[in-house]
């Protein structure tokens, strides 16, 4: 690694944060006040890095503690490696998704452009090292707490070594996966017959992407699958299955020469594999970014070639939908909530036997999709404005107009996902059709309420003078997590209230789903009215 490469990587990482911070008045004032502005910006970035590391540690500690608090059974599941599975999987998912945001913002902020004209050899690792400096290395803090707890209880110091190596394998692989997906989605097609073919290839790409993710989902998310499969692993095979093998490699409660040997071999093999994948994906992503910066895909037919006007709200929503669907990268991000939550949704249905499953639990299951979608879409729809934000600043569009349009767009996408799920439930005879409609209404109202809250928070975070917005405008990963918490509270508060009322009245929430759903609906509508009446005057 040459000094220049290191310098460029660091520059890239800092520049990315700077783009989002530069319109913030307090930040600006402090930069100007400091004797060495460059140094101040670096220090500022470093501080937010510490913040994220701290937060990840805390978060992971909470998850780990949950197992320990559970007493004997919890302790048992900790030792049986479920915690390892959950935490390491979480690290992989965080790494993959933040890498994707990292890459998209490199592209949309045109940060690579200045480098393409420099007469120096750009290292194939420039981008990945820049990623590691902030995003990648911070993710390591997710895996430390359970490792330390494990060493504390079981005194196997090899846990630290193996845990660290496996953390590295998964976190680096997260980056590799995201880069390869990014390269795959953005690689150039032949230009001939562009319009017809590109629509088709886009659809195929998207399908391939969905297929890969579904396999990932299916094999890794089902908790029963894990508990079912992991005790049944026998012999040496169990050491060689990624994630599932962590129970024996990292959280090994009585190490012997043999177990350590197998663990070392397995870890060695995967370190090598991850390393080669990382080298390959680093160079492919660097090549892609250096070759064609900021390509806009011309992959659409604009159907009606006339000048036409619509209502303001329709125009805003239509524009949002176009921005999202025409950029592969935005479209992909829209699918992420589905991948992250569907397994949980279905696992709720799968664990409950058909007898106990009813409209109330179906609603509660879908609530997780609602929470993730409401927070994630709100953010993604605002980020997708990019420097187009200036257009909204110029036009007579208020923040409330923006909130309404993002809300509508998000609701449309959310409905596209949630309605089919409900139909499936009706189809397999779990739900009655009347309740089905009620669930849909409840979800829609809940979505509107939760996303108005999150959109308002997001819009407030954008400095008044800013003409552009990106992922880091909301403090990056930390922002997502905070936003997620806010959304979870605003979406969950009424169901929880209703459940509490039932508990107080000592009746079961499952007794009467209709009542349960109606109550949530009423609470939500009142809250929504109170929230919006201030604006809609």
């Amino acid at each position: 690694m040459k000094k220049l490469d290191f310098f460029l990587s660091k520059r890239l990482m800092i520049e990315q944060r700077y783009q989002a911070l530069k319109s913030n008045q307090t930040f600006l004032r402090n930069v100007q006040k400091s004797k060495n502005p460059g140094e101040y910006v670096e220090k500022f970035v470093l501080r937010s890095y510490y913040g994220i590391c701290f937060f990840f540690t805390l978060f992971s500690l909470l998850i780990s503690a949950e197992y320990l608090i559970d007493g004997a059974t919890g302790f048992k599941s900790f030792t049986e490696g479920q915690i390892g599975f959950v935490i390491f999987l979480y690290a992989l998912v965080v790494s993959a998704s933040s890498s994707f945001f990292f890459l998209s913002s490199l592209n949309s902020e045109r940060l690579i452009e200045p480098l393409t004209i420099m007469p120096v050899e750009i290292s194939p690792f420039m981008i990945s090292i820049s990623w590691f400096m902030f995003t990648g290395s911070a993710t390591f803090f997710i895996i430390f707490p359970p490792l330390i707890i494990s060493v504390f209880f079981f005194h196997n110091f090899l846990s630290i070594l193996f845990g660290f190596l496996w953390g590295g394998i998964l976190i680096f692989t997260g980056f590799s996966i995201s880069s390869l997906i990014y390269v795959f989605l953005n690689s150039r097609k032949s230009t001939s017959g562009r319009k017809v073919r590109s629509g088709l290839t886009n659809a195929l790409k998207l399908l391939a992407f969905i297929a890969v993710f579904s396999i990932f989902d299916l094999s890794l998310y089902f908790p029963q699958f894990v508990t079912y499969i992991s005790p049944n692993l026998y012999g040496t095979v169990k050491y060689f299955i990624p994630l599932l093998g962590l129970r024996y490699i990292v959280f090994n409660t009585n190490p012997t020469f043999q177990t350590i040997l197998y663990s070392s071999i397995s870890t060695g093999i995967y370190v090598l594999l991850a390393f080669f994948l990382f080298v390959y994906s680093s160079s492919s992503i660097t090549k892609l970014m250096m070759e064609k910066v900021n390509v806009t895909k011309s992959t659409f037919e604009s159907a009606k070639k006339t000048f036409k006007t619509k209502s303001k709200r329709t125009a805003l929503v239509e524009k949002d939908i176009k921005i999202v669907t025409r950029k592969m990268q935005n479209l992909t991000l829209m699918l992420l909530p589905l991948f992250f939550t569907l397994p949980t949704v279905f696992s709720i249905y799968a664990t409950g036997s058909i007898g106990t499953l009813n409209a109330s639990s179906a609603y509660l299951g879908l609530l997780s999709l609602l929470i993730i979608s409401a927070s994630f879409y709100s953010m993604q729809l605002i980020i997708s404005e990019g420097d187009g934000l200036e257009n909204l600043r110029i036009l007579p569009v208020t923040n409330w107009d923006i909130i309404k349009s993002k809300l509508t767009t998000g609701l449309i996408i959310f409905s596209l996902f949630s309605i089919p799920i409900i139909f499936i439930l009706v189809g397999i005879g779990i739900l009655r059709i009347t309740l089905d409609i009620l669930i849909e209404i409840d979800l829609a109202v809940g979505y509107i309420f939760a996303s108005i809250i999150s959109l308002r928070w997001l819009m407030k975070k954008i400095p008044k003078d800013a003409m552009t917005v990106n992922f880091y405008s909301f403090n990056g990963s930390l922002g997502i997590i905070f936003l997620f918490a806010v959304t979870a509270i605003s979406a969950g508060i009424f169901p929880i209230m209703v459940i509490l009322i039932y508990t107080f009245l000592a009746s079961s929430i499952f007794a009467n789903s209709f009542e349960f759903l109606m109550l949530i609906f009423i609470f939500n509508i009142i809250a929504l009215y109170l929230l919006t009446s201030r604006y809609e005057r």
């Binding site: 895909k297 257009n391 007579p396």
Partner: protein, 257 residues
């Protein structure tokens, strides 16, 4: 209807640095008003405040009774603004973008159709109307931004170096359009670095320097107040940038060694 735009003690700070320093200025309708000034003198900042895009730190701009800080939403309706660099939605086509602007501004559909057709014909945009904006050339994007700002026939048209990147024919057309605009009792405010454009177009001029207005008036006013006879020399004179030959000599020396 005649109206005026007044800046009262207008100040804008970015953090601790002052981009506009206590500006007082009146611009009347029926005028093409030019704002000149070296790089970083505050032109863009000033124009953005007039257009209601930025908020001032203290002091105000009034368009008649409207305060551009407080009545932003009304101000934006009567102002058209062309930013310094066109940041349009790259994945939309020019046609879709114009449809979007017209819809958000609530322009009558027939009027919009007629104007859009005319503008696009005039600027030779016909062939590019259905390509994504991201794949257009810089000048073509600039045209889209200019048309977008004029669609609603604004009372006040604010252009930040709008001639940049336009080919000779288009910039000629734009100049004619701007004059026509002003002659219909509207107000055109624009910034430029091209002295010929300023001389050719402006009824009045102001020169900004380090956030302050150092001179303001008609071209004749400026000429009579100075010993120089062309705008370029006046500009260089008042902004204290007239030691150019000395700088060039130094540069030449430096390049040799």
């Amino acid at each position: 209807m005649s109206f005026s735009i007044k800046a009262n003690n207008l100040t804008k700070e970015f953090g601790n640095s002052t981009a506009l320093d206590n500006i007082n200025l009146q611009i009347n309708s029926g005028q093409v008003f030019g704002i000149l000034g070296p790089n970083g003198s505050g032109k863009t900042t000033f124009l953005k405040i007039i257009a209601g895009v930025l908020e001032s730190t203290s002091g105000n701009v009034f368009i008649n009774e409207l305060n551009t800080n407080k009545d932003r939403d009304i101000v934006k309706k009567i102002v058209g603004y062309v930013p310094e660099t066109p940041t349009l939605y790259e994945s939309l086509t020019p046609r879709e973008f114009l449809n979007f602007v017209a819809s958000v501004r609530g322009i009558n559909e027939n009027k919009f159709k007629e104007r859009a057709e005319n503008f696009c014909n005039a600027f030779g945009l016909k062939d590019n109307l259905d390509e994504p904006i991201g794949s257009l050339s810089f000048g073509t994007k600039q045209k889209v931004a200019v048309i977008g700002a004029m669609l609603h026939d604004p009372e006040v048209l604010v252009l930040d170096e709008a001639m940049n990147g336009l080919d000779p024919k288009s910039s000629k057309i734009l100049k004619t359009l701007l004059k026509d605009f002003a002659s219909r009792g509207r107000c055109v405010i624009f910034s430029t670095h091209i002295m010929e454009v300023a001389e050719d177009l402006c009824d009045r001029l102001a020169i900004l320097y380090k956030g302050k207005i150092i001179t303001e008036g008609t071209l004749e006013d400026l000429k009579s107040g100075s010993k120089e006879q062309n705008l370029e020399d006046i500009f260089l004179g008042v902004t204290g940038q007239n030691q150019i030959s000395e700088i060039v000599e130094n540069l030449k020396e430096a390049m040799k060694s």
